[in-house]
Structure formats: structure tokens, C-alpha cells
């Protein structure tokens, strides 16, 4: 009798598992279509004009004097509280266990990065901005680089564009997986934290293989990217997509129909489209209100025109919808990544303009001019013509923008980053009033603020 070898059984089991996982993903996609409507039409969204009696004007603006009466209590949550995602402090006015209003108090992580940005050359600038939203550093680098390139009037080669898109989408997966982990932890689903972290680590491992660092990559730079993709990146990516999709189907199984999870999230922290727009909310918060606005579709940049993906949006505007949107956006990112593997063009990974791009490393060893050129570029940087511009892209948290003003030297006069978390925090004004204290934790978690970007 032939002995059963280990490899065989393992192989059969794993192919079965793959089939099961593939069918789970397709079932998941079907349920996603059922639960959420996909939007594929381009750009403009029809919206009734804001009437004078619209909600926007009635929004209570937190602030001003806090009341002196005794029947309510002011409670500070944070700045060192595990569920405030860093150093966010929330002043809450409580009536028994009901939150009447909440005021975010920020600035505990302010390190003057915009001031630092004025001291650094355009070559060094990407290292600075990448530390703002540390869960999605590549989006920061991308928006900064795109602003510099627009002032320089430089066209990036197609391969660099596709590498950028690929990396930003892997980063979006990592960022949303981190959200799944922390959101689960905040609501008491602690095993979810481990699961989310497990898959995020895989995504970060790919980013590390390409850029050399898990976070704060300084990979996307003005003029292109720092290095080409490594050998075997296609198989790494496809394996990553498989694992992440399997992970997402597990999370969905664990949470989407879980009665406890639904009890904690459905109908909690509801925000309407009018309120979200008025309060400057973008990204998943705006999309959770039934307003399918995604800059990747509406005002395409990079090569988002050439890939097929859907904008996920939902109707209720509650904590559950925001969780669900981020969950299914992971699958959409995986879809884009798979298309990047298929369609990746050959060519340069950075623009061959010697004013912007340093000479190749090998040239430095043999050419004095190349050494001088390299030295000048990294000490003085390159000059950018005078002008000002605002570039906006869709980060995992919403619209991230870079307002850049140049005076013709190698350092910007002003480098301002419009952080989506910074504006999204204000939407707490509309979500919190009337909820229970424990729900406030769920709401803060569903806003997904990254304090490095809020405080900059």
C-alpha cells in the first residue's frame, strides 16, 4: 500500500481551501451587491441645491461657553485613552449616560510639519509629509509629488504612474485593514484586532519589499518613484490579494451578520449628506450617507481611468455603513491591484530629466560630473518656477490636498496639507448628540482619525 505522503494531503486540502475561499469571495461580492449599491457612472452627482432652511445652517457649532448648570457633567475622554487612536481629547457634555455634545480638542501631536516643510527642499519634502498620515503614508507622498510636478510642469512616465497607483492601493488595503483591527478592538471584538493586524502585516511586508520600509517610505518622489519593483513582485502581489480577500471574507463572516456587532453599530452616529457636506467630511463618511463621491472616479488622476473598479457607498450614514464601506473597499483595491499586475507598462520608473532625477548609482562611481550632479541635487535641490497650486487626491480617509506656493527657489514658500482626518473630526458634531457614552467610542472609531495628520 502506498503511504500517504504529507505533501499530497496538504496540497489537496489547500486546493479545496482555495476553492472554498474563491466561492466565499464570490458569495461575498454577491452579498455586497445586495447590501450596497455599486456606482459606476462617472463624475457629477445630482444634488438638490441647499435651501436657506437646509440643515447646514442649523448645525450646532460646538464651542463657546460651556454651561454652568449642575445637571450635566463635562467629561474628558483622552488625550491618553486607548480608543481615541492616539492623543485625541474629547470634551463631552453628559446628561447621565447620554452625550449632549462633544468637542474634540486637538494639537497634542502638533510638531509644526508645515513649518518644517518650508525649511526642506522639494527633494526632501516627501520625507516630511510621509509622516503625517502614518497609516497611509504613500497618499501623502503622492499628493505632495503631484503638486510639485504640476508646478514644474513635468510629465511622469507611464510605468511610474502605474507603480504609484499600485502602491497607493496596497497602502489603502493596509490602511483599511488597520481600521478593521482597531474598530473591532474599540467595540470589544478583540479577536478582530488580531485578524486585521495579521492581514495588514502581509500588505506592509509587500510595501517593505518594494520600498525598504514598513512605513514612512519616502518612495513616491517628485518625478517618479525611488526604485523599480523587485523581481517576482507579480506573484507576491497575487498571493497578497488572495490572502487579503480570504481575510476580508472571514471578517465579513465574523461581523456583518453578527447580531452583537449590528446592535453596537447599526443606527449609531447617523449623519446626513447635507451635514457631511457642510461639515467638510469626505471619504467613507460622505459615502456612507448615500453620496457616491470618490475623487478616483469623479476627478481621475494617475491611471484610474484605465482600471475598472466600483465606488462603494451606503445609505444609512451610520457606524455600520462606514465599517462596511471600508471592508468592501479593500476588495475594490485588490481588484485594482490585480489589474495593475496585468497592465503594468514597461519603461522608466522616474522621469529622465537630469534637473530633477539624480544620476544612476553606477554612474557616480565612474563620472565626476555625475557625482557633482548627485551632490548638488541632494544638497541644494532643484528650483521650482514661481506659482501656486492645489492638488487633491482620494486617500483612504477622504480628500487629501496639497497647497503649494513656490517663489522660484528650491524650497516652498508654503506647503499646506489638507488632511482629511482634520476635517472629518468635525463631523462628530452631527453624529454624537443624543448617543450613549459607549456609542461615542464606536463613533470616534468609525471616523478613523489619524492624529499625525490631524495635528501635523
Amino acid at each position: 500500500m502506498r503511504p500517504i505522503r504529507r505533501g499530497e494531503r496538504a496540497k489537496r486540502a489547500s486546493s479545496q481551501e482555495r476553492r472554498a475561499s474563491a466561492s466565499r469571495v464570490s458569495r461575498l461580492a454577491a452579498s455586497a451587491t445586495r447590501n450596497l449599491e455599486h456606482q459606476t457612472d462617472e463624475g457629477a452627482q445630482e444634488l438638490a441645491p441647499l435651501s436657506p432652511e437646509a440643515k447646514a445652517r442649523e448645525l450646532v457649532f460646538t464651542g463657546g461657553p460651556w454651561p454652568d448648570v449642575d445637571d450635566t457633567m463635562i467629561l474628558n475622554m483622552g488625550p491618553q485613552h486607548p480608543s481615541t487612536h492616539g492623543v485625541l481629547r474629547i470634551m463631552m457634555e453628559l446628561d447621565a449616560e447620554t452625550v449632549l455634545r462633544a468637542k474634540p480638542v486637538i494639537g497634542y501631536l502638533h510638531t509644526g510639519m508645515e513649518k518644517t516643510g518650508e525649511e526642506l527642499t522639494y527633494v526632501q519634502g516627501a520625507t516630511n509629509v510621509t509622516r503625517m498620515d502614518y497609516a497611509a503614508p504613500l497618499s501623502n507622498e503622492l499628493v505632495f509629488s503631484m503638486a510639485v510636478e504640476r508646478l514644474l510642469d513635468v510629465e511622469v512616465p507611464p510605468r511610474a504612474t502605474w507603480i504609484r497607483m499600485l502602491m497607493v492601493e496596497v497602502n489603502r488595503m493596509a490602511s483599511h485593514l488597520l481600521f478593521q483591527a482597531t474598530n473591532g478592538m474599540d467595540l470589544g471584538a478583540v479577536s478582530m484586532m488580531i485578524y486585521g493586524w495579521r492581514e495588514r502585516e502581509l500588505a506592509l511586508r509587500f510595501l517593505e519589499a518594494v520600498t525598504g520600509l514598513r512605513m514612512n517610505h519616502n518612495y513616491i518622489r517628485p518625478g517618479g518613484v525611488a526604485a523599480d519593483l523587485h523581481d517576482g513582485w507579480e506573484s507576491d502581489l497575487l498571493a497578497l490579494c488572495d490572502q487579503v480577500e480570504r481575510g476580508v471574507s472571514e471578517y465579513a463572516e465574523l461581523l456583518v451578520d453578527n447580531p452583537i456587532w449590528r446592535e453596537r453599530t447599526v443606527g449609531i452616529g447617523v449623519i446626513t449628506t447635507e451635514q457631511a457636506l457642510a461639515l467638510g467630511a469626505t471619504g467613507p463618511i460622505l459615502r456612507s450617507t448615500g453620496f457616491a463621491w470618490d475623487l478616483r472616479k469623479a476627478q481621475p488622476y494617475l491611471a484610474y481611468d484605465d482600471v475598472d473598479f466600483d465606488v462603494i457607498y451606503a445609505q444609512r450614514g451610520d457606524t455600520f455603513d462606514r465599517f462596511q464601506i471600508r471592508l468592501y473597499e479593500i476588495l475594490e483595491s485588490a481588484k485594482i491591484v490585480r489589474q495593475c499586475v496585468e497592465k503594468m507598462p514597461a519603461g522608466d520608473f522616474r522621469v529622465q530629466d537630469r534637473k530633477i532625477t539624480p544620476p544612476p548609482r553606477a554612474r557616480i562611481d565612474e563620472s565626476m560630473e555625475a557625482l557633482i550632479h548627485h551632490f548638488k541635487l541632494f544638497t541644494e535641490g532643484f528650483r521650482v518656477p514661481p506659482g501656486e497650486t492645489y492638488v487633491a487626491i482620494e486617500s483612504p480617509r477622504g480628500e487629501i490636498g496639497c497647497y503649494l506656493v513656490s517663489d522660484g527657489t528650491s524650497k516652498p514658500v508654503r506647503m499646506h496639507i489638507r488632511g482629511p482626518s482634520f476635517s472629518n473630526l468635525q463631523s462628530m458634531d452631527a453624529m454624537v448628540p443624543g448617543c450613549l457614552f459607549a456609542d461615542a467610542v464606536a463613533i470616534v472609531s468609525s471616523i478613523d482619525p489619524i492624529m499625525g495628520e490631524v495635528d501635523r
Binding site: 452627482q45 513649518k115 469626505t282 476627478q299 501656486e388 492645489y390 517663489d407 522660484g408
Partner: protein
């Protein structure tokens, strides 16, 4: 590099010094309504240089009649040391510029308004009553540039500590060391 031929001057001279007729329909409507406004196209983006007095009115016009649904960002620039700054004709430069970026979701377009704010009276009308979402960004500009937004209900420092002296993003506020003292630490550092 010495053997490269001198680069050809292909900079086109500005055609005329008269105000540019705006290609952007929103800008044209604003110019018709607010004659003091100057239109300027910056790298393909429409920019309106607005008189400080009509800052709030232009935003109200954009919101109510041009369907600009969101004001995504308010920020400022300090041009103290920026001597060679190019302004379109018809605009008198001041030290500060306040910049607001608007998005119209129904029309899928953006526009930027910029207002000159003098050093002697650094104040401009707040847009909070139109777009409550500029509450944080205006506080940030107040905190870091010292520009007051008249009508803002809660104009306090947001990023810096409440007792901070100075406005860090002004060009004459140089980055410097902040002495850090710890309680009970006998050696002053």
C-alpha cells in the same frame, strides 16, 4: 553640461495687460457680480482674487447660486520674504493671503478664492455660517498666522497651547528651541 546648447527662450510674452477674460463660466459669473474681482488661471485651475470686503459675499454667491457644495479648505500664506512674487495685474499685494478651496459636487468642478490681507489689520470675514466645516481650518489659520476671522463663534488656538505667544507659521517667527523644564528637575536646561 558645457556643450549643451543654450535653451531656447520659448516663454510667450503676456498678450495684453488687460484683465484676462475668464474661460471659466463660474469665474465669469463672479466677475459680473463682483467687479473688483480678478480672474487668474494657475496651472489650469481657476483662481479668483477677491477683494477682502467681498470675501464672504463671494462665498455666499458660490454656495447659493453656483452650487458649490463644500468648502474643503481654508489656509493662508505669508509673503513677507517673497519679494519677487508675481501677481496678476489689478491686484495690490499685501503681506498675507487667505486661500479657500471650493468644490461643487453637482457640477464636478473646483474653484479657489484668494484674498489679500494687510499686516496692519489681519482679519477677514469668517465663512462658518455658510460652510460650518471651515470651523477647524479657520481656527488653524488664526492659530498659526494670527489672522482673525470675524464672526467665528470659537476663534481659539487649536494646534498650539492656549498660552502660546506668537504665530508659528509667520515668516518672522523663526523656528527656535523651546526650553523644556521638568518639575523637580534641579538642572535648568
Amino acid at each position: 553640461m558645457a556643450d549643451t546648447p543654450p535653451r531656447e527662450e520659448n516663454h510667450e510674452p503676456p498678450e495684453d495687460e488687460a484683465p484676462v477674460s475668464p474661460s471659466d463660466e463660474v469665474a465669469a459669473a463672479v466677475l459680473e457680480r463682483f467687479p473688483g474681482t480678478v480672474f487668474h488661471e494657475s496651472h489650469g485651475q481657476p483662481v479668483l482674487l477677491v477683494d477682502r470686503a467681498s470675501w464672504h459675499d463671494v462665498a455666499a454667491f458660490l454656495r447659493d447660486e453656483q452650487r458649490f457644495t463644500q468648502c474643503v479648505d481654508v489656509t493662508a500664506v505669508d509673503h513677507l520674504v517673497d519679494a519677487a512674487r508675481a501677481l496678476p495685474p489689478g491686484v495690490a499685494g499685501e503681506r498675507f493671503e487667505v486661500v479657500a478651496n471650493f468644490v461643487s459636487h453637482p457640477r464636478n468642478r473646483r474653484i479657489r478664492t484668494i484674498s489679500q490681507v494687510p499686516e496692519g489689520d489681519p482679519s477677514v470675514a469668517s465663512l462658518v455660517d455658510l460652510y460650518p466645516g471651515v470651523g477647524f481650518p479657520e481656527r488653524e489659520v488664526f492659530d498659526l498666522f494670527g489672522i482673525r476671522f470675524e464672526g467665528h463663534p470659537d476663534l481659539t488656538r487649536i494646534l498650539m497651547p492656549d498660552d502660546w505667544v506668537g504665530f508659528p507659521l509667520r515668516k518672522d517667527d523663526a523656528p527656535a528651541r523651546v526650553p523644556v523644564t521638568f518639575k523637580g528637575d534641579p538642572t535648568p536646561r
